[in-house]
Amino acid sequence: MVEPSDEMLVLAVLAGEKEAYEKLYDRYAALVRAVCYDTTRNLADAQDLAQDVFVRAYEKLEQLRDLERFGRWLVAIARLRSREWLRQRLRNSSRRFEAGNVESVVYDPPDDSRIEQLREKILMLPERERLALHTFYLQGKSADAARRVMGLSKSGFYCVLDRARKRLERLLAREMESIR
């Protein structure tokens, strides 16, 4: 069965069909959480932020001019919302520090150490390369879907993805060497 395009789903949402928004959520929620995670560094906060992002997108959907670029627009909102979250958090922690009550950051419990390492190293990648990995692995490994979210040509996208993988391999190899 052919999946409806983002454009079709957005039009349906604008016409009042909430079910279409569920489909858009299924399509992009994991990606939005990953983008938020880049800032929050913990999954629970990333999930909360992602919910905010979808609410904000729903409220501002009429402002989306190019309906086919819903994914790209959503990622932009996610980055904006993450920056707001970070500013808020910095303000709060500075206040807490002044009051002599510094709250420690709660990290997710580590799972497989290799996976945990991978997660850490991804956070060290340049934003563009990180986003290439997020979009590729969270858009069903479809380079076409991923490159649309990033606004790149197919070849341009593969180029960034390849660079991201190579840099990631180098970072992991360096980590292994330091352990030895």
Partner: protein, 385 residues
């Protein structure tokens, strides 16, 4: 081939699906219903909410839109011949009944703001289609299937589903129930004033509008029952005024087609699955050429033939934009797009300048099989918003 890194990445990214179904359920439950959201506001607000999206979002514009709707309603009395003897009992319901038959509307919408008197927009409804033209040359077209908005340069700025529901009359739609015969609050209303020549209906603002609106006054010709004007008065002394044009002849059907919205900046015949074609661009400072290719597309359930279009622009400096490939384009329907440099960014041009090529490609049929005219409307945006 899957590498160990690929496998680890796949596993790692699965974490972002955690609790997905619960999160989706809670999100969807928290979202307001787009239609229902409008149901509990005042009647005038309902109309505003409806028309507001098609024109502007300011409070003032919304008020004006409400007045426009009421004017449109009044047009329905155009067909009434003769009038009742006791004019003080001409209920609004009679206007409502005839409003359903209105098949042509032409009106001007003006507003007073302090010492200024401004033409805001002009609207027409005929042949089952609606056109609204703003004072800056922007326009909206609704053909009961699609609502399209164009800026003053003819660029498609928005596209969405038609405002019309299946089989819905123009005035029924525009008034969002204001003219419903079941609406006793308005339909039983009789003229507030019966003069020698005019009947004047006065409507109170809904609770939602009462803080800033004084009321809406509709003047109707006593014998013809033709609406003469609608005046929506604000408490601060400003008002919106709608005037009907009965003198001008009805616009022809072509007028309601978005064909004459600005001249294209370039056009050329392009064969489907043929060679790429260079289209010289005129009157778009900074842009010299568009290079297009039209490709066939597997048939879908669309009512019109559709194709993929690949587009690249060349600037006056000879820089190449990114190629937007695979734009889905239906015949006689515009799309709206934008692109940055070939490097993939709006400020990644060789000279480091910001450039955003905004364009609307449009596909027109020709007499030849497999050949279409590609029209390009475009401009170069050199400053960030």
């Amino acid at each position: 081939m899957k590498t160990p890194l690929d496998e680890d990445l796949t596993v790692m990214y699965e974490a972002f699906d955690k609790n997905h179904n619960e999160l989706r359920q809670s999100l969807i439950a928290s979202l307001p219903d787009r239609h229902r959201r409008h149901k509990h506001v005042g009647r005038i607000n309902q109309m505003l909410a409806f028309v507001g999206d098609t024109i502007m979002r300011s409070r003032i514009t919304k008020l004006a839109a409400a007045a426009v709707i009421i004017i449109a309603v009044c047009l329905g009395v155009l067909h009434i011949v003769g009038g009742p003897a006791d004019f003080s009992t001409v209920g609004w319901a009679q206007v409502v009944t005839h409003a359903a038959k209105a098949d042509y509307v032409h009106m001007y919408y003006l507003k007073s703001r302090g010492n200024d008197f401004i033409k805001h927009f002009e609207a027409w409804y005929a042949h089952g289609k609606m056109v609204m033209r703003g004072s800056k040359g922007d326009a909206k077209y609704d053909d009961r299937k699609v609502l399209q908005g164009f800026d003053e340069q003819g660029m498609l700025m928005s596209r969405g589903p038609s405002m019309f529901a299946e089989g819905q009359g123009a005035l029924e739609l525009l008034t969002a129930g204001f003219l419903s015969p079941k609406n006793e609050q308005f339909n039983e209303q009789v003229p507030a004033n019966v003069g020698d020549d005019f009947l004047i209906y006065a409507f109170d603002p809904s609770p939602k509008e009462k803080d800033w609106m004084e009321g809406i006054y509709i003047t109707v010709g006593k014998n013809s029952l033709l609406p003469v004007q609608i005046k929506a008065c604000h408490k601060d002394g400003d008002y919106d005024l709608i005037i009907f044009d009965y003198e001008a002849p009805e616009e022809p059907a072509e007028f309601f087609e978005p064909l004459d919205v600005g001249l294209p900046n370039g056009r050329a015949e392009v064969a489907v699955d043929g060679e790429q074609v260079e289209i010289p661009i005129a009157n778009a400072p900074g842009l010299k050429t568009a290079i297009v290719r039209l490709r066939s597309k597997p048939p879908d359930n669309s009512d019109k033939p559709s194709f993929y279009l690949d587009v690249t622009f060349i600037t006056d400096e000879g820089y190449r934009s990114g190629m937007l490939d695979g734009l889905r384009l239906k015949v006689d329907e515009a799309a709206q797009c934008g692109t940055g440099s070939a490097e993939g960014g709006l400020d990644k041009w060789p000279d480091g300048q910001y450039r955003n090529v905004r364009f609307s490609p449009w596909l027109r049929p020709t007499d030849k099989d497999g050949t279409y005219i590609v029209e390009i409307r475009c401009f170069l945006k050199t400053e960030k918003d």
